[in-house]
């Protein structure tokens, strides 16, 4: 350490921008830092597993017809994307706040002029950015593999129908193209992303009052389970029992706190070649965004009252 006073004399005083109650720059700093943290912890390694799964399954599927192959490839890939992003959302978010509290880094950050909601928002945005990058990379890998397989299938079909009439060849190629890469996949991928955003926000909320990472992950596993089963359970309950106002209120509360995660499972329709209606897409997306906002607000509320 030097005692070089010329470095910090009055003439060279740093001019700090006056404090503002809300600052995108502060949130961006925390977002970038969170993304750096997650990236340097090598969470992207799971993308390798996805790539291996994709390549492995496409090699295995070579024994089916092309239409069957495309259908299974879509089913496996979109299903894997959904599970991987959900897992990543929960595991990456669960440790962010408790770790900062345990390491006391949260003291250093909040002792700066940083409102608590900006801190939480920055952390969440970091995870959402990570999820967006992951799903883009997985989506790109999926599209490339599907495109390559489609091209192979088209060449193979053209070769098989070389001596057949022109309209038969055209019909075969049209059938192939319809079952391979098409724009209907996109809304399905967006909904997978929004489901992951919802899970990340919910995990952040749970982690604001959890004392350990394990607690958060276990609670989230239970919520994930209930979230996927609650719609079926609700239908069964309402059919089998006379639904009084108390039952309805209870079911309403369950539905409010445990989002119907099965509603985000639109990929089954896409896999069999059915396009998702715009209304269903908009409704599911709105539910995803609504829950993400609600859980972020609840997390902020709890975190404001938290003794650090």
């Amino acid at each position: 350490m030097t005692n070089d006073e010329t470095n910090l004399n009055d003439e060279s005083r740093t001019v700090v921008a006056p404090y503002r109650a809300f600052s995108f720059a502060r949130i961006a700093a925390i977002t970038t830092n969170t993304l750096t943290e997650l990236t340097r912890q090598k969470v992207f390694y799971f993308l390798l597993i996805f790539a291996l799964l994709l390549i492995g399954s496409s090699a295995f599927l070579a024994r089916f017809t092309f239409q069957q192959e495309f259908q299974i490839l879509k089913d496996v890939s979109l299903g894997a994307m959904s599970i991987f992003t959900s897992l990543l959302a929960i595991i990456a978010t669960a440790r962010l706040i408790p770790q900062d509290i345990e390491d006391r880094t949260v003291y250093t950050i909040l002792a700066k002029p940083v409102p608590r909601f900006e801190y939480l928002l920055g952390k969440l945005m970091g995870v959402l950015l990570l999820l967006a990058i992951s799903i883009l990379v997985m989506g790109a890998m999926f599209v490339v593999v599907l495109y390559v397989r489609e091209q192979t299938a088209l060449h193979e079909t053209a070769r098989q129908f070389a001596n057949a009439p022109r309209d038969q060849l055209d019909a075969a190629l049209r059938g192939l193209r319809a079952s391979a890469l098409n724009v209907d996949i996109l809304p399905g991928i967006i909904i997978i992303y929004l489901k992951a955003c919802l899970l990340a926000a919910l995990t952040l909320f749970v982690s604001t009052f959890a004392s350990t990472n394990i607690f958060t992950v276990v609670v989230m596993a239970v919520i994930y389970f209930i979230g996927h089963l609650q719609a079926t359970a609700r239908e069964y309950w309402l059919q089998e029992h006379t639904a009084g106002w108390m039952t309805r209120a209870f079911l309403g509360l369950v539905a409010l706190f445990f989002p119907d995660l099965q509603a985000f499972n639109l990929i089954d329709d896409i896999v069999v070649g059915a396009a998702i209606s715009l209304a269903l897409f908009a409704k599911t997306a709105a539910i995803g965004i609504f829950y993400t906002l609600i859980y972020t607000l609840l997390g902020t509320f709890v975190f404001y009252g938290k003794e650090l």
Binding site: M1, T2, N3, D4, E5, N7, L8, S12, R13, T14, V15, V16, A17, P18, Y19, A21, S23, A25, R26, A28, A29, I30, N33, T36, E37, R40, Q41, D103, R104, T105, Y107, T108, I109, L110, A111, K112, P113, V114, P115, E307, L308
Partner: protein, 289 residues
């Protein structure tokens, strides 16, 4: 001239509930404290006496049960009260995956610094705390002393008017501890108020203008250091090159005026100074080899 205190604590009480026991533990009780601008104030006390809790309440990290705290007249609950504050927590752990320079850039951005100004300020502080050569190393590879120094650098990134240090030399070796002490003295010279908590009394004695002693959450002593530790009816003379005859004459003179000689001893250096000199010699021998 600004007469507003740098830190004002009014009748502060903080109790923590004990989970599942329907009991409450009082961490701070009816504490009144005032730190004037430009002074170095030491909050002393044994472990668990409420020092860290008091600092956390002042910084808005913990809410008080009763009473209030202010920083330069602004209530600690307001985020903007921390605009001109730098804080170094006890045994800080920063993000291990960031380098020294990245750490300062991150905290600078949180304080509203941007671009070239942020770059310049980070460079200055890395130089000041002697970490220029380690600027691109990740904090995971830093020693405890280095972490403490990068912690001090981040506390100073926004040119604060008040620096709060919670046990700034805990776990640091004597040389590192001396460097931190020098830096605190430098902060004081530049008019920056320093509020620090410590239980290393010798160090506090060297640098603090005023001290407050906490015990079981209550302020049991407070005042200017020299007044608190002075023994009113005793005076010390330190002589250099005094012959035995001169010392005997002084003793005889004292006896004639009804004063009592309490102790006569050789002046000693401190163990800390001896350690620093010895380790410095060791270093220069290694270099010359």
């Amino acid at each position: 001239m600004n007469t507003e205190p740098a830190v004002a604590v009014h009748r502060l009480t903080k109790v923590f509930p004990v989970p599942l026991h329907r009991q409450w533990v009082g961490a701070v009780r009816d504490l009144d404290l005032r730190v004037e601008p430009g002074e170095v104030y030491g909050l002393l006390g044994p472990n668990g006496s409420g020092k860290s809790t008091t600092l956390k309440i002042i910084l808005g990290l913990v809410s008080p049960t009763r009473g209030r705290t202010e920083i330069f007249g602004r209530d600690s609950n307001r985020v903007d009260s921390r605009e001109t504050v730098g804080f170094l927590p006890e045994n800080p752990y920063f993000y291990k995956y960031l380098t020294g320079a990245e750490t300062l850039r991150f905290f600078g951005k949180l304080c509203g610094l941007r671009g070239k100004q942020l770059q310049k300020r980070s460079d200055e502080l890395l130089e000041l705390v002697g970490l220029t050569n380690a600027r691109n190393r990740r904090l995971g590879t830093y020693s405890k002393g280095m972490l403490q120094r990068i912690g001090l650098a981040q506390a100073l990134i926004n040119e604060p008017k008040l620096v709060v240090l919670d046990e700034p030399t805990a776990g640091v070796d004597p040389a590192g501890s001396r460097e931190i002490r020098d830096l605190i003295v430098d902060l004081k010279r530049r008019g920056i108020t320093v509020l620090l908590s410590s239980h290393l009394l010798a160090q506090v004695q060297e640098i603090c203008d005023r001290v407050g002693i906490l015990a079981n959450g209550k302020l049991v002593r407070e005042g200017r250091l020299e007044e608190l530790i002075a023994i009113e009816n005793q005076t010390e003379l330190v002589l250099e090159n005094a012959s035995d005859t001169l010392v005997s004459e002084i003793e005889a003179l004292a006896a004639r005026s009804n004063a009592r000689l309490v102790a006569r001893r050789k002046s000693t250096t401190t163990l800390e100074r001896l350690f620093l000199e010895a380790t410095k010699e060791g270093k220069s021998i290694t270099k010359s080899e």
